[in-house]
């Protein structure tokens, strides 16, 4: 964490797209008359998604006008939450978890890959594809180490499969969201060790296998 400021270079203006405007108005309508300010986080989030995953100054002002809030109130929210990127990010914004469980499972290797391939934190790579940031626990410790790329989690990483993942993303090839070693959700890495009489006999796991068994 450090002092967060708006980007030096800002677009001239910001308007929600017609589809987003419909969504945004539905969010505002959730709150009673005079309490529209409650919708500030969803609106900023949608604005950020629309604007290549970062939040420009005109968007902050646009949201303030839509919700009848002083500009500073919206700026407070935008600077408080680190999920709002105030500076441009790459096409793929990688948030790498470096908290204890991920670190014990090898997040340092992932970090080394990022440092080598992408460069410094918060700097967009030369091709505009990547930008990374070390963050605190993202809550997927059982599949450590992991990263979040844009909206999705990529888990069970190693230096090799992470390199492959980055290659695939850069090349525009389809990638698998979730575990990169093929395990389902957060089951034990070496296969089921308990309740095997109910699950897993057919090589599958979870409720689907129970259904297929009966």
């Amino acid at each position: 964490m450090s002092v967060r400021r708006l980007a030096d270079e800002q677009p001239a203006n910001f308007e929600f797209t017609p589809e987003n405007l419909v969504w945004v108005e539905a969010q505002i309508a959730k709150y009673p008359e005079g309490r529209q300010a409650s919708a500030v986080i969803p609106l900023l989030w949608q604005a950020q998604k629309q604007h290549n995953y970062w939040l420009p100054k005109p968007a902050i002002e646009k949201v303030a006008e839509m919700l009848d809030m002083p500009f500073i109130r919206v700026l407070e929210v935008a600077t408080f939450y680190t999920m709002f990127n105030l500076e441009p990010v790459g096409r793929f914004f990688i948030q790498m978890c470096g908290t204890t469980p991920c670190m014990l499972r090898g997040s340092d290797d992932i970090k080394a890959v990022l440092q080598r391939r992408v460069g410094e934190q918060r700097k967009v790579s030369a091709d505009g594809n990547f930008c990374w940031l070390e963050v605190e626990c993202l809550g997927a410790c059982c599949n450590a180490p992991m990263v979040q790329i844009n909206d999705d989690y990529y888990e069970d990483l190693s230096a090799q499969n992470f390199e492959t993942l980055l290659d695939d993303l850069a090349a525009g090839r389809p990638v698998h969201i979730g575990s990169q070693t093929g395990r389902s959700t957060s089951e034990p890495a070496g296969g089921l060790t308990s309740l095997t009489s109910f699950y897993g006999a057919d090589g599958h796991s979870g409720p689907a296998s129970a259904t297929s068994k009966s």
Binding site: V3, L6, K57, P70, I72, R73, L75, E76
Partner: protein, 683 residues
């Protein structure tokens, strides 16, 4: 009422009191930074920790209400301890945390000597630091021309943020970032837009926000402090004038719950430099078209020559907006002695007149009464510019909820929502016939109809007044007719009867070409006097009045004389002298007394007490300080035809309404900034 035991003392306090207030009631002093009586509770400084029996940890007394305390297991009263070793240790810990990042720059900090942090560190601080890490460094922010920032010193109490959001109503300031990186700032370092922004420097418990024009000028212990009354607008805010030697260094608010609570406007506070520039410090006489310095004797002789060469019908007197009651009484007495009936204290041409009764020209519901209002109609006024502190009181009432506000006049930003009814007299006529917002007012128990001078100085001003009085439907319990004055001298002048006598000319008629031979002008700078008349200008600054003058008599400004002022509510207030007038300038009553001798109409008093004795004999209510003489409901509400036309506010440039403000460089800068904002908003 709820009973609670504080340090062994049982007190009975309202349940909604916070523990902090209950402790104060019991005589225990609680240190605090973020808590402020007039702002919402933040509970973030943690300095007010106390022990509450049954609570596992020390609790923040400012954020815990008395009714939330549970009784003991056997029904004992809730017990609070404020002096235990635990409390002391907890506060020491909080203080240590606050001081981790606070710079040790007290010797170069303007807050030094009147700093809450400094004072409380003496009680709860330790003499050494356990921290060897670097202190946090924060960029200083630009937040306007009136407040200087030193953000390293900020302890994040957020008083300034809450003030701009809740009292000023502009929401200028905020806290960006979080945790250690939290910073107090305005939106992208723009200047604050409030007319009350100077108050954030008073609220700041440390030296992070300080008055910019006063930076590095003086130390609090060098200053002589005089309690006085402000004359920048009609509200008569309570102020304290701090003086070093002969120089006014700063002006601060005093608490007066009935008038200004503890806020003052930026004009009141920062007009100080205007008191030192453009001052008239010796008499002048116009010779061959040029003003040349003269002695008092020469000036008086020149006046006497002119006065003796004309008749009383060709002499007139005007009193300006900053004149005290004593000054106007002396001038009126002098004019009576000369047999002159052409006198007027209404240079803006307002149609208010004492003949209609006192209730027709004062703010009848009183300023504190605004908090009881259940509907407000504003006619031809922009209270935010005409009296920002009064506007803050309306905002305070509006924030309590259920207050319909209607506005007839210019569409302006008032910091609270209002229903825009129309631009002018047409809308007022419609309301007077009982339609629209008039129904809201008719249903209200305690309606307030605020009438601005902008509507009253039109030719149909009396009709506006009559319509407003009808809409306010006064009852014996509640008179909602509220005249918003912009001039500090006005109500006093009307109380004195400083209006044309039988057959006398009013201010407008006196200033027409060829109306008079000699005009005495007591500080009226906002009126143009046509060429022809011999003008004797008695005032403080080389402003419009002095430029038109043939003889200038230099006088004392409001901080330099002892005087009585009557505010818009009709409240008689006393302003004491804080320093002395520059050069040869004298107090106005003394000048008039000396002049009366030369003119052969000697006034019957030789001292201020003698003048006051005569004044109180003629108008007994001036002797009752801080009281409001009951207005009564005697004024005639004749019906007049309203003439079509839009109402405009009497104050277009808040920062430059009087000669003192026009001489101030700080006010000029504020005015330019405000104009820039206005243009930006228009684009």
């Amino acid at each position: 009422m709820t009973k609670i035991v504080v340090d062994g003392v049982e007190v009975d306090v309202p349940g909604e009191y916070t523990l902090l207030q209950a402790c104060e009631e019991a005589g225990a002093e609680i240190p605090r930074f973020c808590f402020h009586e007039r702002l919402s509770i933040a509970g973030n400084c943690r300095m007010c920790l106390v022990e509450l029996k049954g609570a596992p940890k020390p609790i923040a007394s400012c954020a815990w209400s008395v009714k939330d305390c549970r009784p003991g297991p056997n029904g004992e009263l809730p017990t609070v301890v404020t002096k235990s070793p635990t409390v002391k240790k907890a506060r020491n810990g909080v203080m240590e945390f606050l001081l981790i990042n606070h710079p040790l720059d007290c010797p170069i900090c303007d807050q030094g000597g009147e700093c809450d942090l400094q004072d409380q560190a003496m009680a709860f601080g330790v003499d050494t630091s356990r921290y060897e890490e670097n202190k946090r460094a924060v960029e200083d922010k630009y937040i306007g021309p009136l407040v200087r920032t030193s953000m390293n010193r900020c302890i994040h109490c957020t008083r300034c943020v809450r003030f701009t959001a809740e009292v000023a109503g502009t929401g200028d300031m905020g806290a960006i970032g979080r945790g250690e990186d939290m910073e107090i700032t305005t939106y992208l370092e723009t200047a604050m837009g409030s007319e009350l922004q100077g108050n954030v420097a008073d609220l700041c418990p440390v030296g992070a926000l300080l008055p910019k024009p006063y930076a590095f000028k003086a130390r609090p212990w060098e200053l002589g402090k005089t309690e006085s009354i402000d004359v920048m607008d009609g509200l008569g805010s309570a102020i304290r004038v701090d003086v070093r030697g002969r120089e006014v260094m700063r002006i601060l608010p005093r608490v007066n719950e009935a008038v200004n609570e503890e806020w003052i406007s930026d004009k009141t506070r920062q007009v100080v430099d205007g008191l030192k520039s453009q001052r008239l410090d010796r008499p002048y006489i116009r010779r061959d078209g040029r003003l040349v310095a003269a002695s008092w004797g020469e000036a008086f002789a020149a006046i006497a020559a002119r006065v003796s060469a004309t008749t009383p019908a060709r002499i007139g007197a005007l009193a300006g907006d900053l004149a005290s009651v004593e000054d106007m009484f002396a001038l009126k007495s002098l004019m009576q002695g000369l047999g002159v009936t052409n006198i007027d204290c209404r240079q803006d041409g307002t149609k208010l007149h004492p003949a209609m009764g006192r209730a027709s020209y004062i703010f009848n519901p009183t300023v504190a009464g605004i908090e009881q209002a259940d509907a407000i109609l504003i006619i031809g006024s922009n209270p935010r510019k005409e009296s920002p502190v009064l506007n803050a009181r309306i905002l305070k009432r509006w924030r309590m909820g259920n207050l319909p506000v209607g506005l007839i006049g210019e569409r302006v930003e008032l910091t609270y929502d209002y229903q825009y009814l129309g631009a002018g007299a047409e809308t007022l006529a419609e309301l007077a016939s009982g339609r629209g917002f008039a129904e809201v007012l008719a249903k209200a128990q305690r309606p307030i109809v605020i009438v601005g001078q902008g509507a009253l100085m039109r030719t149909d001003g009396l009709a506006v007044l009559a319509a407003a009085a009808k809409l306010a439907h006064p009852s014996p319990e509640w008179n909602g007719l509220a005249i918003l004055h912009t001039a500090a001298a006005r109500v006093g002048g009307l109380d004195l009867g400083f209006v044309p006598g039988a057959g006398g000319l009013d201010a407008w008629a006196m200033t027409r070409p060829g109306a008079l031979d000699v005009l005495f002008n007591l500080g009226a700078d906002e009126i143009d006097v046509a060429p022809g008349a011999f003008v004797v200008y008695q005032g403080t600054h080389g402003d419009r009045g002095a430029h038109r003058a043939d003889v200038i008599l230099p006088s004392a400004a409001y901080t330099e004389k002892s005087g009585t002022y009557v505010n818009m509510e009709g409240r008689v207030q006393f302003a004491d002298r804080a320093n002395f007038a520059p050069g040869d300038a004298r107090e106005d009553w003394a000048i008039l007394r000396a002049l009366s001798d030369v003119l052969g109409a000697t006034l019957g008093f030789d001292s201020l007490p003698a003048l006051r004795k005569a004044l109180y004999a003629a108008h007994p209510h001036f002797a009752r300080l801080d009281a409001i003489e009951a207005g009564g409901l005697t004024f005639a509400t004749q019906t007049f035809e309203l003439q079509p036309g839009a109402f405009t506010s009497a104050v277009q440039d808040f920062y430059l309404t009087n000669p003192i403000a026009r001489a101030s460089a700080v006010m000029a800068e504020c005015s330019a900034l405000a104009k820039g904002r206005l243009q930006q908003a228009a684009e």
